[in-house]
Amino acid sequence: MAERPQVAPAARNFGRDETGDSPAARLARLKEGDTVTAHISRWDPGTEPAPRFETYRVPYTKWMRVLEVLTYVSEEIGGDLAHRWFCANRMCGTCAVRVNGREVLACWEPVEPEMTIEPLRNAPVVRDLVIDRSGYEQRVSGLVPWLERREPYRGFPEPLTHPAMAAADKALDCISCMCCFSACPVIGLGDETKFAGPAPLVQLARVALDPRDGIDRGRIALERGAVFDCVSCYKCEEVCPVSIPIVTGSIEPLKALAFKSLPRKSRHARVFLAIVRSRGRIDPSALVLGVQRLTALRHPLRVLKLWRHGKIDPLKTLFGFRLPDIAQIRQIFEAVRGGSR
């Protein structure tokens, strides 16, 4: 058994004390009788040119959540505030909003003494805090996120083991709240990419990693989901209210399936792998040249400038740099991957 490394994470947490992450720490900053100040985004796109913030002061009650503030505002103060909710219990995924810039479930998020409350990003606003989910839902359904069996259903009860379902297990927790979809910077680029986004890919992973599914999910992940456009920033995981490892547990396994199904189209992954095998280390110029081919040279003046600043070394790239102990790297490749490229 490996010994657990002794890690001193102090520098990773600077600022934790003053901003207080945990719900308990945050609730400790308020007591009954205090006032919660909420700056809520109000907007009717049909009649108003742009969103505006309106400020409401709400009496704090013990263990108060953001949803209670919204309910108080809509019922006691500004009767026409539009917000969506249903279960108030972190199950239905309909009440997601942004509080102080961070995507949260209103029903679960402790209040802050002062907070801005805005609708989710990356979806049109219907009114105030209510967004139009139809674009997201179309993306999800476009990925065919339901089981497609190769073999006929054998009837109930169907034999299914925990180990067989382990890979899909966490993805099954997704409540489609769209928090990750709102936080994803690539989705924020709109039509610039065909990336399906974190939540739709989690929905795809639910079936792609299910042993009963029988269709080529790697192809769907690549051709319809542009899975390799994920930048691995983990912003989706940071906001997921049910703690799904979205990048490592859903998107990365989908990349693996895409690479397996369509290695030629998974060009970046294929070239990356080949460079590490042959050289031991990545030469970024070789990677760009391998992926973009001659189009990498479309700006010759820029290439010359990069060369002049020592950012690229065409001779090393063309004539191949290799680690002195490349045999050790290749031995690892051989042991793990055998002859497969």
Partner: protein, 287 residues
């Protein structure tokens, strides 16, 4: 203070100045860096996705090399740091995978017990050298230099792992800035993504994602951006001319590697720090 030093691929290719600056600054800081022999790639996040077992074995080899020397491992790259932390965690929690990796490493006379402490230069500054000693080493306070921290992703996320709590709370670079005498500014990009990991096949993602953050830093009065990651540096610096075209406005924002900023304050000449290698020139004009 001795560390096994892993520079990573970028600091030995597109950001050679980072490697040079790290060596000279480390020596001034009293860090004895033992560079790992034949240090191969940690696989970025790409190999982790497409071949997790290969990813484990490649990283375990590097961790084992550090362990064989009885040294903690210091990196200067966010993604390499995350890869090492990630592999350490997996191998400490899954003994069967550790055994499988060790069976491969045994052919190279290596074995990994899982004891290598992994740290990043930023964390070494604050956790190993310490604020008091760093402050004592400052010979030229960088007063008047307004610096925007660009943390990048992989030393602040994924949350709830490796000691990361909430990227919004990241203060480590601002803490270092204060010690060095420069002013930290707030802006939109502090813990945002530079898009490097798609830059080879989809440049426009990196250009679109990062240009707006550099503009935000500029609009908030930054004189330079400092980053602890060479991958972020590559996007912020070498793609900046394309971001200017995309935004239709001039940025001209110098991007510094963290060791360069530290070096300027502890009395290392800018030429030794390689700031002239950057695409966007940096001129240190202090109050």
């Amino acid at each position: 203070m001795r560390f096994a030093y892993y520079p990573g691929c970028s600091a030995q290719s597109t950001c050679k100045e980072l490697n040079a600056a790290t060596h000279v600054v480390a020596s001034k800081l009293g860090l004895d860096l033992i560079e790992l022999p034949s240090a191969g790639c940690t696989g970025s996040r790409e190999l982790r996705a497409i071949d997790p077992d290969l990813f484990l074995a490649l990283n375990a080899r590097l961790l084992a090399l550090a362990e064989a020397n009885g040294l903690p491992l210091m990196t200067v790259c966010n993604t390499c740091t995350l890869n090492f932390l990630d592999v350490n965690k997996t191998l400490s929690e899954e003994p069967m995978r550790l055994a499988a990796v060790n069976a491969i490493l045994a052919k190279q006379g290596l074995t990994y017990r899982g004891t290598t402490r992994v740290s990043h230069f930023l964390w070494v500054l604050l956790e190993d050298i310490g604020e008091a000693r760093l402050r004592a080493l400052v010979v030229r306070r960088l007063s008047g230099l307004r610096v925007a921290a660009f943390y990048g992703c992989h030393i602040t996320r994924p949350p709830a792992h490796f000691g990361f709590v909430d990227s919004r709370n990241a203060r480590a670079i601002e803490t270092v800035n204060a010690i060095l005498g420069c002013e930290s500014i707030d802006y939109s990009g502090r813990t945002e993504c530079c898009g490097f990991h798609t830059a080879a096949h989809e440049e426009k993602i990196a250009i679109k994602l990062t240009g707006r953050h550099i503009k935000s830093a500029k609009d908030n009065g930054a004189g330079a951006i400092v980053t602890p990651c060479p991958l972020c540096h590559t996007v912020l610096d070498t793609f900046q001319d394309q971001m200017e075209r995309d935004l239709g406005s001039e940025l001209g924002m110098p991007i510094l590697h963290l060791p360069q900023l530290v070096g300027l304050a502890i009395g290392v000449a800018p030429a030794q720090l390689g700031v002239d290698h950057h695409m966007v020139p940096f001129d240190l004009a202090l109050d």
